[in-house]
């Protein structure tokens, strides 16, 4: 059964040598107990202790990494069922599938734009993670040609799809030196697939429609020496898929059930509408990898943003960079409004102004990622900080009228701010962002 940090500490060398990357053996032990590191990070642990710790030390959901040309996609090592309990760690890898019977030119034409795709969301560039290549021809040469076509357009990690070990062997050979995901092993082919996974040190996807089937296969494959596996619980409806994914995650996290302690892969389906919905569920509910059949910017953008939102650490508010934001190409005579750098606050305010088509300068102050009222109550959004931002970002050089609008919730700051900024006119705006456009039209 799982050991506590103190129990683990007693089995460690207790030399605080730091070779594991942690300052003390106790710190490392605590991380082991929380299943966030692997025992192998400690080079000095005795064999005896190793055996005792092995069971306890492994994360309940194994970390699996797909690698290619400097790119990595990781899945696993998750610790909670619900994101508010801590956080979800490894963002679902999004892959686009091509089939070898499409022909190399068509494949290249589909892969190139998907590979180059990057969309900016709150200052981050979001991209897809890789490609899945399926052998529908069942011809090793054609599979190799498809892989070459993908590699001519993208260096990202690959999922190879074929149930035929001979075809898969050709594919793996074509990707020598990489760690693609082998998809996959079923009851009929698992021995040959496990052998390939061993030879190429590549993770192996295991396909099964029930928990029993999956657990049977993973145990056999582990017996054949393969550790890195990914599960594909095959389901025909959203509801069935949700149930299987939830059951597997629960067994791994709550029961420490090793045979199902692996990340999950989901295939979102072949019609573009259903695909978006299936991928939405897969991202929210536990898939480590999702394979899409279509690349359309309007779909991929929404899924990438969802992934970002679901995998945001709930304990750390998302912040925007403090500074001056220009909305609707403001001119020097346009108004200056101030708010905090909590992303939701920023978006509420910026959206209302932008949506109303009104030009303005939005001064975002560093309130440590808190909303207006919270930051004010915590002393992170006061006259001093606002005045500091006014000076730091030289907003006075950009405008002809030194007039600044405070959020209505902090009307109480107006007196102090007038003292801090003697040559500025301080106005109190509405409490809610939604009332800002009307205020701007009427009062400014």
């Amino acid at each position: 059964m799982a050991l506590t940090g103190i129990q683990i500490y007693k089995l460690l060398p207790q030399t605080n040598c730091k070779d594991c990357g942690f300052p003390t053996c106790l710190a490392f032990a605590m991380k082991l107990a929380a299943k966030q590191v692997e025992l192998s990070s400690c080079p000095h642990v005795s064999e005896e202790a190793q055996a005792q710790l092995a069971e306890s030390a492994a994360p309940p959901i194994r970390l699996v990494t797909l690698k290619a040309n400097g790119h990595e996609v990781k899945a696993g090592n998750e610790t909670v069922m619900f994101r508010h309990e801590k956080t979800f760690y490894h963002k679902t890898g999004l892959f686009v599938r091509v089939r070898d019977d499409e022909g190399p030119d068509a494949i290249k034409a589909r892969v190139a734009p998907a590979d180059a795709y990057a969309v900016n969301y709150v200052g981050m560039d979001l991209t897809l993670d890789g490609f899945a290549i399926e052998s529908t021809s069942n011809d090793p040469a054609q599979f190799e040609a498809a892989i070459a076509a993908v590699r001519s357009a993208s260096q990202r990690p690959i999922i190879l799809i074929s149930r035929d070990p001979a075809v898969m062997a050709a594919g793996l050979k074509a990707l020598d030196g990489e760690s693609p995901l082998i998809y996959g092993a079923d009851a009929a082919n698992w021995e040959a697939m496990a052998a390939l996974a061993g030879q190429h040190s590549a993770p192996l996807a295991v396909i099964g429609a029930t928990l029993d089937d999956l657990a049977d296969l993973t145990q056999k494959i582990q017996g054949a020496g393969v550790e890195d596996m990914v599960l594909h619980p095959v389901a025909t409806t959203l509801g069935a898929s949700l149930a299987l994914n939830t059951q597997i995650r629960r067994l791994a996290l709550k029961k420490n059930f090793r045979p199902l302690g692996y990340p999950l892969i989901a295939f979102a389906g072949n019609d573009p509408v259903g695909e978006t919905i299936a991928a939405t569920q897969a991202i929210a509910k536990y898939a480590g990898f999702v394979v899409l059949d279509h690349f359309a910017p309007e779909t991929v953008y929404s899924l990438l943003v969802l992934r970002e939102n679901i995998y945001t650490d709930p304990q750390k508010p998302i912040q925007v960079q403090p500074g001056v934001y220009e909305i609707n190409n403001p001119k020097p005579e346009d108004p200056v409004m101030v708010t905090t750098n909590f992303s939701i606050t920023y978006f509420s305010v910026a959206n209302e102004i932008e949506g109303a088509g009104l030009p303005g300068w939005l001064l975002v102050t560093d309130a440590e990622g808190m909303s207006v009222l919270t930051a004010w109550a915590a002393g992170k959004f006061d006259a001093e900080r606002i005045a500091k931002a006014v000076k730091q970002f030289s907003i006075a050089d950009k405008v002809s009228k030194k007039r600044i609008v405070l959020p209505g919730h902090v009307a109480v700051l107006s007196g102090e701010l007038e003292e801090e900024l003697p040559d500025w006119e301080v106005r109190v705006g509405p409490r809610e962002a939604v009332d800002l456009p009307a205020f701007m039209k009427q009062a400014l």
Binding site: L211, T237, L242, F257, L260, V273, S343, S348
Partner: protein, 324 residues
């Protein structure tokens, strides 16, 4: 190897709430709808009972809204000119119930009057037999002026009156209490605020099976993760037996989505955002589906295509897999 399916044991259940009343029940609705009753987390059919599917409410406005995206107005066509026609169109598009939003100004540009609000409500009730929710503009004084006469004029219909908030719930709850209606209780993405408002409403004597709670959400990209997690926490608390969280949840996915730049703006946006119409609908659908997964019992939507897609998703999520 036989693997035992891990089932969580829950002691609590979500309250059942019925919206609308048929002639036999003192109203005029052709049908009523019931939500809630779940004894497990969303769609976990293998470990508990989910007697009622989540519902789609379609939002219509008392007159053609000038602040709605033309993508929406084009999709509804002439129906959007008239609340009665719009209600019928919403019913045809697959609505389980209607949300009539009252705009601050009337069709003539003058402020809305209680008389015109009552007239619009009655017109919708006559045009469609679906259960109804009526949401006032969200300004305390005006809301009370509009909702009280509406509640009186539709006594017995079991309409959901919105929006009851901490600063303005007494008059609305009293109107619901006196006229056999329900209320929607909205709080700002916080478990404790939601509980507190439910307690206050319960203290006024309104049975909690006449309350739905709106914990508020953000759209995809605009704070959905807060709404999503608050809903999961509320539902977990409900199943663990906390009575003041055991209310069905309503979320205004359409309203939130169609405020976003991604849905609203077609020109001058990054090329990576892709096709405008497809993106806007995706935004509404992804927002709605994610919130269904986190416990929504009613999602309020705006675009007819979103309604169809979300309905298909609910069908699949409610299909109880064969035992085994």
């Amino acid at each position: 190897m036989p693997v035992e399916i891990p089932k969580d044991t829950w002691t609590g259940a979500v309250r059942e709430v019925t919206i609308g009343a048929t002639a036999a029940e003192g109203g005029t609705r052709a049908t009523t709808v019931t939500i809630g009753g779940a004894t497990t987390m969303p769609f976990m059919h293998f470990e508990g009972s989910i007697p009622h599917r989540p519902l789609i409410a379609v939002e219509i406005v008392n007159h053609r809204p000038d602040d709605w995206s033309h993508l929406l107005l084009d999709a509804w066509g002439d129906a959007a000119n008239d609340p009665a026609a719009w209600a019928k169109a919403a019913e045809q598009a697959g609505a389980d119930l209607i949300q009539l939003s009252l705009n601050q100004t009337g069709a003539d540009g003058n402020p809305i009057t209680p008389e015109s609000a009552v007239a619009a409500t009655k017109a919708v009730l006559e045009a469609s037999g679906l259960p109804l929710m009526v949401f006032a503009p969200g300004q305390a004084e005006l809301d009370n002026e509009l909702l009280v006469p509406i509640a009186e004029a539709t006594k017995g219909e079991r309409i959901v009156l919105g929006i009851a908030e901490d600063k303005n719930y007494r008059t609305i709850v009293a109107a619901a209490l006196a006229n056999d209606h329900l209320v929607s209780a909205r709080t700002a993405m916080d478990v404790n605020l939601a509980k507190q408002l439910n307690i206050l409403i319960g203290d006024m004597g309104l049975p909690l099976d006449r309350v739905v709670m709106d914990p508020t959400t953000g759209a995809l990209g605009y704070g959905i993760e807060y709404g999503y997690s608050v809903m999961e926490r509320l539902r977990l608390a409900a199943l663990q037996g906390d009575a003041m969280t055991q209310l069905p949840m309503l979320v205004t996915a359409g309203y939130e989505t169609w405020k976003t730049k991604e849905a609203k703006v077609g020109e001058g946006v990054p090329q990576e955002w892709g096709d405008w119409t497809a993106r806007a609908i995706n935004w509404e659908v992804v927002t709605a589906v994610a919130l269904l997964e986190s416990g929504a019992d009613i999602v309020v939507l705006r675009h007819p295509e979103s309604i169809a897609r979300v309905r298909a998703a609910i069908d699949e999520l409610m299909a109880v897999p064969a035992a085994g």
